[in-house]
């Protein structure tokens, strides 16, 4: 072992980071090298004096308080923010998907297709509907369905006085667009009526 390495080992030995094998080699070198023995003694003394310096007080009270306040402010910064739980998110996504699909299906420049579909729904209710919840005690089943159909037509801005199917269909003749999809809907009420 040369002196350079021995002095590094002496420094490591002081911090307790040397293995037993290297400690033995260092001891062997120190036994026969006065310069390294002196270096080692000097280092131990210097380290002792340096550590005795009055540096143990820590930060001033204002600094300690500022750090503590910051710690209080930042607590929980690693917590993941969950705006929506997974089931709610799934429901919202499904709803958005349905809305987007509906909007796409009902798209037409003047909105006539939407009206056609709504009217078709009304007609379907009049002919095949089973909305028993609109029934009132003592009322005829067909009357309840008729009221429901009228409500739907009113909402769509169609005449509330229409004479059911025939009038609805006649009103639908006007706004039929050239869209092949909506054209195919023309015969739909007939089909619904079966």
């Amino acid at each position: 072992m040369n002196c350079d390495k021995a002095q590094r080992y002496a420094v490591l030995a002081e911090s307790g980071e040397i293995g037993s094998r290297n400690a033995a080699r260092l001891a062997g070198h120190l036994a026969c090298c006065a310069a390294c023995r002196l270096f080692s003694a000097e280092y131990v003394r210097l380290a002792g004096s340096a550590r005795d310096l009055p540096r143990t007080d820590g930060p001033g009270p204002e600094t300690a308080l500022a750090v503590k306040a910051q710690i209080r402010r930042s607590a929980g910064c690693g917590r993941k923010t969950v705006l929506f739980p997974a089931p709610a998110l799934t429901a919202i996504a499904a709803g958005l998907l349905v809305a987007a699909a509906t909007a796409w299906m009902l798209r037409s420049p003047d909105g006539s297709l939407a009206r056609v579909m709504t009217a078709h729904s009304a007609v379907a209710v009049l002919t095949d509907g089973t909305f028993a919840m609109h029934e009132q005690p003592g009322a005829d089943h067909s009357d309840a369905l008729r009221r429901l159909a009228m409500d739907i037509l009113k909402m769509e801005g169609l005449s509330a006085d229409v004479a059911l199917e025939s009038d609805v269909l006649s009103q639908l003749e006007e706004p039929i667009p050239t869209d092949p999809l909506s054209r195919s809907m023309r015969g739909c009420p007939e089909g619904i009526r079966g």
């Binding site: 002196l38 004096s49 930060p59 500022a66 710690i71 607590a75 929980g76 690693g78």
Partner: protein, 202 residues
């Protein structure tokens, strides 16, 4: 023992990140002295050490969600080192730490802290004062190794992590530092050598 400490840090940090503010108090207390002594050793002034201490914790708290290191103390001291380097750059904005002087040595290597300021603490021991002054004149990285080992009390292996270098480089820096301190503290060393010689004669 060492491993238990690390586990405690990790556990406290996890609890703190989960919203338990008090969990961090133990971590701050555990590393307060090491961090402050390092800051004090590098700056040479109480007021500047306070600022480095505070800024280090602020940065550490901001970075805490991304903390993945094995040694919290090493990670904290590395942040303190960066805070100190940033301060040096602000003080001397025209100087790059990588810029080399005429001798081909990076400025960062030779940049030493100013002389101990008036607010520097008076030491009980004259030797202590002389050591402080001599350490303040050391090049940056040698001073850092000395401060981390003597005043923060971390091992050379941990210092290597803080400085992102090998333990051999750290030991070499310490050796250079000791050689310079030997020149600066010549009288003290001579006194010791005399005592050593007397001891050898006896």
């Amino acid at each position: 023992m060492h491993g238990a400490g690390l586990t405690d840090d990790a556990e406290c940090i996890a609890r703190y990140l989960d919203g338990e503010a008090e969990a961090m108090d133990a971590v701050v207390e555990r590393h307060r002295r090491a961090l402050y002594c390092f800051a004090r050793g590098m700056t040479g002034r109480d007021s500047e050490a306070d600022e480095v201490f505070q800024e280090t914790w602020f940065r550490a708290l901001r970075a805490l969600p991304r903390y993945r290191e094995r040694s919290f103390r090493g990670w904290l001291l590395r942040i303190a080192r960066n805070v100190f380097i940033d301060r040096l750059r602000k003080m001397r904005p025209e100087v790059s730490m990588d810029e080399e002087n005429a001798a081909g040595i990076a400025i960062g290597q030779v940049l030493s802290s100013p002389e101990p300021a008036p607010d520097a603490r008076a030491t009980d021991s004259e030797v202590g004062e002389r050591i402080e002054t001599a350490v303040a004149r050391l090049p940056f990285e040698q001073r850092e190794v000395f401060a981390l080992r003597m005043w923060s009390g971390i091992t050379f292996r941990e210092i290597a992590v803080v400085q992102r270098t090998s333990i051999n480089t750290v030991l070499a820096r310490m050796q250079y530092a000791l050689k310079k301190l030997r020149l600066e503290l010549r009288d003290d060393y001579l006194a010791l050598a005399g005592a050593e010689m007397k001891g050898a004669e006896q």
